[in-house]
């Protein structure tokens, strides 16, 4: 899976145009971003390598409704996936030149450091611990953590009510950033119930085994919409979770290219299109504007 290749020669660069043109022509998906026909990059950069190889491997979630969810088909669907397609297009790569790899939360850094993927777009919150091992491009979206409760629950109106109601249990996914953020609000560690996937939290809520669940608001909005009349969101967003795109640590040129690609998507409307066709379909969500990119370091 490792995609590192030797530096491009000038001759190879010349043949690149023909190659990407062929790749673009074979794409038959109507609403996919059209690959840029005249992609050309400085020799030796990651962009040049990917572009010349005519292939890119992207890690994303396979179980995150709205962002990266693989249903019965072969490829996942969601906002992260659309962003990935947009960036690939600007490398001159068509949709079928992308290989999607599942990137569960616990494996994201390892996938990047081992070179198994070229980038990870997987509801991947930018934070300092993670930056020790990888570099983030973006952010391309800022999520915020919120709390979801049963429709009839009135004891919880925000995270601060947890300590006053130690018998209430709140659910999240083990190892997720929201599950770490909520710890400071708890009366005791036992108040927090953790599973591998959010679906288990929803089941536990329906069984009355937990009374609340917390994660990024877009995910919760999806569950509120899917289970009409059963759940509601309470309180304001109490964190900011900037989602970044994980790449090899120190690849500043690639980071800047991705930021530029995101900016282009924002300007030509494909960013908004990506949102409204995926996570934006859930009721109660707003079309985001592309956040200002962090400096690439």
């Amino acid at each position: 899976m490792h995609l590192r290749r030797s530096a491009l020669t000038a001759a190879a660069a010349a043949s690149l145009l023909a190659l990407t043109a062929c790749g673009g022509g074979s794409s038959d998906t109507g609403d996919a971003p059209e690959p840029v026909e005249s992609a050309s990059f400085e020799a030796g950069t990651t962009m040049a390598e990917l572009s010349q190889a005519g292939a890119i491997t992207i890690g994303t979630k396979f179980d995150q409704p709205g962002f990266g969810l693989r249903g019965l088909g072969d490829t996942p669907e969601g906002f992260d996936v659309e962003v990935g397609k947009g960036i690939a297009a600007q490398l001159g790569l068509s949709e079928d030149q992308i290989t999607w790899v599942e990137a569960p939360s616990s494996q994201r850094e390892d996938l990047i450091t081992q070179g198994s993927v070229d980038m990870v777009i997987a509801t991947y919150t930018i934070n300092d611990t993670r930056k020790e091992r990888i570099t983030f491009a973006g952010p391309y979206y800022v999520a915020g953590q919120q709390i979801m409760v049963g429709e009839a629950e009135d004891r919880l109106t925000g995270p601060d009510d947890l300590r006053a109601n130690p018998d209430l249990k709140i659910c999240s996914v083990n190892g997720s950033t929201p599950s770490e953020n909520i710890r400071e609000y708890l009366a005791s560690p036992d108040q927090l119930v953790l599973f591998e996937v959010y679906d288990d939290c929803v089941t536990a809520m329906k069984n009355g085994q937990v009374q609340a669940m917390t994660t990024d608001n877009v995910i919760l909005t999806g569950y509120v919409a899917e289970n009409e009349g059963e759940f509601k969101l309470v309180g304001e967003q109490f964190t900011e979770e900037p989602y970044g795109i994980g790449i090899t640590k120190g690849d500043t040129a690639f980071c800047e290219f991705v930021n530029g690609a995101l900016q282009t998507m924002s300007e030509d409307g494909s960013y908004e299109e990506a949102w409204t066709s995926t996570a934006g379909e859930y009721e109660g969500t707003e079309v985001p504007t592309l956040p200002t990119a962090d400096a690439c370091v």
Binding site: N127, N174, G175, P189, D190, L194, D200, A204, Q209
Partner: protein
């Protein structure tokens, strides 16, 4: 091994939690498994059927399914308890099927004449088992039982996925996912802490086998 050394307090907390789960599951599965084995060799047809049915169903069901049924199935019947209790109960129910079979094979290894002689002097079924058959079965039962219980210790890593937080495996997931620690050293750390349970258990087992051998 920096990720382990830097988070030793988290690992230790996970170890203590895992040890608790394992000890409860050991005690519970030994009691339930022995009771099931007694059912399986009992002269009462209904009890035999219960024991046989239990083993056939539970032993052939994946552990994750058993744990799922406890964590989400039983609460759907309006019976509620903490996920910790459900997790341990699932582990007990699953392991008991294997304990039952290990003990039953030990009972079957005792010559049938022993039980006949016991019955012939008027011992009841229970006395026959406790006075004559089980003491002789112990020696053959210890090695397979040890295997069953060591497998249980390792199986206990699965309960983390069913809401039983804080044990070793959940700690590992927390470190690798939320804090972005590399997985290899973290899971080596998990392995090391599991060995801290299984190696002494194995040594205890070997000593028990030796003592029983001498006692004959």
């Amino acid at each position: 091994m920096d990720p382990v050394l830097e988070n030793l307090d988290l690992f230790w907390g996970g170890f203590v939690r895992s040890l608790g789960i394992v000890l409860w599951a050991f005690a519970g599965s030994m009691v339930l498994g022995t009771a099931l084995a007694v059912c399986r060799v009992s002269p009462v047809p209904v009890l035999r059927a219960v024991g046989t049915g239990y083993v056939a169903v539970v032993r052939n069901t994946p552990l994750t399914v058993v744990l799922f049924l406890f964590a989400f199935g039983i609460p759907a019947l309006q019976v509620n308890a903490s996920f910790y209790v459900f997790g341990v109960a699932g582990l007990v129910v699953y392991t008991a099927a294997f304990v039952c079979e290990a003990i039953r094979s030990g009972i079957n290894a005792v010559a049938p004449g022993q039980a006949e002689a016991a019955r012939a002097i008027g011992l009841t079924f229970g006395q026959t088992l406790t006075q004559v058959v089980l003491p002789q079965a112990v020696r053959t039962v210890v090695p397979p039982l040890g295997n069953v219980q060591i497998a249980m210790v390792k199986n206990s890593a699965v309960v983390g996925a069913f809401g039983v937080g804080g044990e070793l495996f959940s700690v590992a997931t927390r470190l690798t996912s939320a804090q972005g620690e590399p997985r290899l050293p973290v899971y080596l750390g998990v392995a090391a802490f599991f060995l801290l349970i299984t190696l002494p258990a194995g040594a205890l087992l070997a000593r028990t086998e030796q003592r029983l051998a001498v006692a004959r």
